[in-house]
Symmetry: C2
Subunit: 254 residues, 2 copies
């Protein structure tokens, strides 16, 4: 059984095997026996380079640790599918860019016999290209007392900077951090072609930031802008200050 207390590594199941699921596998396969399920992935077999065994959702849900790595808007459906198969004492984590809504869904829909931690790795495939050491992750303990051990593993073994926080504090801070970054990137991408010759270092840096987020799945942008309860007010403030600046420079209020 996957779930047995054998001499083998602890089993970890990844539900949702998109770009982020693969990034998880890449960094966790040395430490866990990895299983993955995704409707778009092979139903069985193994990806040796990522150290992942593909299996049906019931099998993957029986792992000791289950990571939900699908877009936020598919979380409820995924939880409904895995819940009947989750064993008592399983640790369930999500990895979404927002935390208040997923925390509420997980607390409400996951069986009472599993522990829950909301996580937000503050990086993606682009920013993790040169490794994840020194990158940041937020942890929101939701049920059970295992956040300390998870934080210690992420710090000591993966070299991440760990922030233990609440879903509300997370979403408030990230509404600015990600909300503004993605908003600015979205607008600049629409203004392309942008200059590449006579550029300044500061412009180059902004464009490098744009490069890091522009290929994120559309769901990521929508989750950040719509599923974070604090995003709308940050956005309004940005647009209001922009409009004021434009009119102070003699432009029309648009």
């Amino acid at each position: 059984m996957l779930n047995s207390d054998s001499k083998d590594q602890v089993t970890l199941g990844i539900i949702g095997f998109g770009a982020f699921g693969r990034l998880i596998a890449q960094h966790l396969h040395p430490y866990f026996q990895l299983y993955a399920f995704d409707p778009a992935a092979p139903a069985a077999g193994r990806d040796e380079s990522l150290g992942v065994t593909f299996a049906d959702i019931a099998t993957v849900a029986k792992c000791r640790i289950v990571v939900l790595a699908m877009p936020v808007n598919q979380l409820e459906q995924a939880i409904a599918a895995i819940s009947p198969h989750l064993e008592p004492g399983t640790l369930v984590l999500d990895v979404g860019s927002v935390k208040v809504i997923p925390a509420n869904i997980m607390r409400r829909d996951l069986p009472a016999h599993v522990d829950i931690i909301g996580t937000h790795p503050l990086f993606g495939p682009q920013s993790a290209r040169e490794g994840i050491k020194g990158l940041k992750i937020a942890l929101c303990p939701i049920r059970g007392g295992r956040v300390g051990r998870v934080a210690a593993f992420l710090r000591a073994t993966l070299g991440l900077k760990v922030f233990v926080t609440t879903p509300e504090a997370h979403d408030q801070e990230l509404a600015t951090v990600q909300g503004l970054t993605h908003l600015i990137a979205k607008v600049l991408v629409q203004m392309e072609p942008l200059p590449t010759r006579m550029t300044t270092s500061s412009f180059d840096m902004i464009m490098k930031a744009v490069e890091m987020v522009r290929y994120d799945a559309p769901e990521v942008f929508l989750a950040i802008e719509r599923s974070n309860p604090y995003s709308a007010s940050v956005r309004e403030q940005f647009f209001k200050l922009s409009a004021d600046l434009n009119s102070s420079l003699g432009g029309s209020k648009s």
Copy 2:
């Protein structure tokens, strides 16, 4: 006389000795005999660390090369003050962030017996902190045939990337490069305090870009936004796309 063809180095006079004038001195003093005038600088004496001798404006204007390093809105006045003292064959350069307006003023007001090149070093004291090698400069030949020699010096001796262009092509490209950078920076600075804990690499990069331009003199921002004939339309496009995005996300049109 400063202007003599002695065995000494060529004389170079800096009119306007603010942050950028000092940056020029720092990088050119090994190659030129430097003089500087600024109403706010000492009237005489020497700054040994920058290799600069302070003198009255008439003396500084008699150098073989004269660099105008004051804000764009003080250019006309400065040219009126130096013009009577400029010797035939002098090379006059400006260093402003916009080029169409200064080029017109220099062409119209400087005596016919001097050569003129408009320049825009695409860096400032912040971005040049770790040296200027590899940084960029735009050159706009306006009168006389000396742009080739100047470009060769900047490339071979200072290690700059040189773009020879027209004032119009320069301002068009920089309206986007600098116009957008300074606009975004201005808005973000107004939104402070901004998060510094749970940040992403892309947000950190945008904030690093903001750091590089936020301490620029207010005249730099105004020159970029107001004295560049192409800035208003870039700004309008940015604000229009932002407002469209805001309303597509369900926000109010502000």
